[in-house]
């Protein structure tokens, strides 16, 4: 273990967990491959989760690593990281970013609320395609469409400058004041706090709409400039 302070391997319930230490990505990457090659026989066929700590990885880095591990008959299924960028990259590549499968109840406290809802926002400037998922404790603003099969789970509000056809959960920590706005609001399902709504068949042309909880019910109203 001391020979490789950059790479630690231990067994967990879901397979093996590899923890990467400090250093440049090039060094750590090489150390990982060396370690894996040394123990090739022992590791063959294993499912790996990788804790990359503070390393910030781009899609190319992660994709390359996954392919190199595939060559060695190892399958990478999860990447755990302290960096939101890396987490996003991993999610885009279809990798898990948490070890314990978090699918209990649709209740609060799923998102770690170190950020108070209302304090921070995340801007997503792209179209979210099927299978893409964003989880963020603050607000989420999307410039682009949210296609069916994509999901956004936000602690605060969700604003979509585009078509909303996927699933959105605003106020996921139980914030009933959260709202969802979109230019064309036709989500497969929409959740605010603990309420779940399904959009009725739309009649006529799409118009910008805002959804909020009013009188204990999820309701959509036209999204217009505020009248004084």
């Amino acid at each position: 273990m001391d020979a490789h302070p950059k790479v630690q391997i231990k067994g967990i319930r879901e397979g093996l967990l590899i923890t990467l230490g400090e250093g440049t990505w090039v060094e750590v990457h090489q150390a990982l491959l060396d370690q894996v090659d040394q123990q090739a026989e022992f590791l063959r066929g294993a499912r790996l989760a990788l804790d990359v700590g503070n390393h910030v990885l781009k899609a190319a880095d992660l994709g390359q690593l996954r392919n190199q591990l595939s060559d060695r008959d190892l399958s990478l299924w999860a990447v755990i990281s302290n960096s939101p960028t890396t987490e996003q990259t991993a999610q885009i590549l279809g990798l898990a970013t948490r070890l314990a499968k978090p699918r209990p109840e649709l209740t609060a406290a799923r998102l770690e609320t170190t950020i108070q809802a209302g304090e921070q926002a995340m801007l997503v400037h792209r179209t979210l395609r099927s299978g893409f998922s964003i989880k963020f404790p603050g607000h989420v603003v999307v410039i682009g469409d949210i296609n069916p099969g994509a999901e956004i789970i936000a602690g605060g509000d969700v604003v979509v400058w585009g078509r909303l056809r996927g699933m959105v959960h605003a106020g996921a920590d139980g914030n009933e004041l959260a709202v969802v706005c979109a230019l064309d609001l036709s989500p497969t399902q929409l959740r605010i706090a603990n309420q779940i709504a399904i959009t009725p068949q739309r009649r006529g042309k799409a118009q910008p709409e805002m959804v909020r909880i009013q009188n204990g019910q999820v309701q959509a109203v036209p999204w217009e400039p505020k009248k004084k």
């Binding site: 899609a59 595939s70 885009i92 296609n147």
Partner: protein
Amino acid sequence: MTGKVVTVTSGKGGVGKTTATANLAAALASDGQRVVCIDADIGLRNLDVVLGLENRIVYDLVDVVEGRCRLRQALIRDKRLPELFLIPAAQTRDKSAVSPSDMVRLCDDLRPEMDWILIDSPAGIERGFRNAIAPADIVVVITNPEVSAVRDADRIIGLIEAEEKGPARLVINRIKPGMVKRGEMLSVEDVLELLAVELIGMVPEDEAVITSTNRGMPVSLDGKSKAGQAFRNIALRLKGEKVPFLVIEEETGFFGRLARLIRPGGA
């Protein structure tokens, strides 16, 4: 020659990946290009059947990758088109027999000798799909005008963008003009509105495809078939030529044409 690697994929099964690969390959090869198709669907190979070459297989993709034969030995020459080759998939193994970097190496070896390397991807988004897109220069996504196929195409396009292989190009296959007209099938516009990628082909539903598949004779070699014409046009567009899209209309017969003559602006 430095061949371009084109991967044909879809996410959903049964939308026509193998048919499209075989027909594009045949269309390119009959145009004088040197083409090799690689069947990446290890364990469920089909491309050899569609091309009518199943009885000529001696070595396959896995044999090449594992070094049991030289690359040349696994190349099966087509019986009609001397410039068309096939590397078949292994039937008795599974997707993990090949890795993405094996595919990259294989394609790098083929590039100097070929104009086009077409890879027929398996359905799904797992290892087989990653093998198929790893070496790709161009990714062609096939979909049908139905909700489930379009949903899967959307997912696939997202994954292709994530792997930095984008932008994907789209072929909409098996369009039934009559149903579109009656509003019972998604129209090309509906599909494009959701997927928002470059369209390089619209292929009408054509019974000739089924008979040609059964006979092992790609429909793009049949001058009369509408689908064959559509595939030939896609091949030309891959080569960078500007070809107008076919007008996909139902065969209405004599009375339909007469009605259209009488009311040219109608419907």
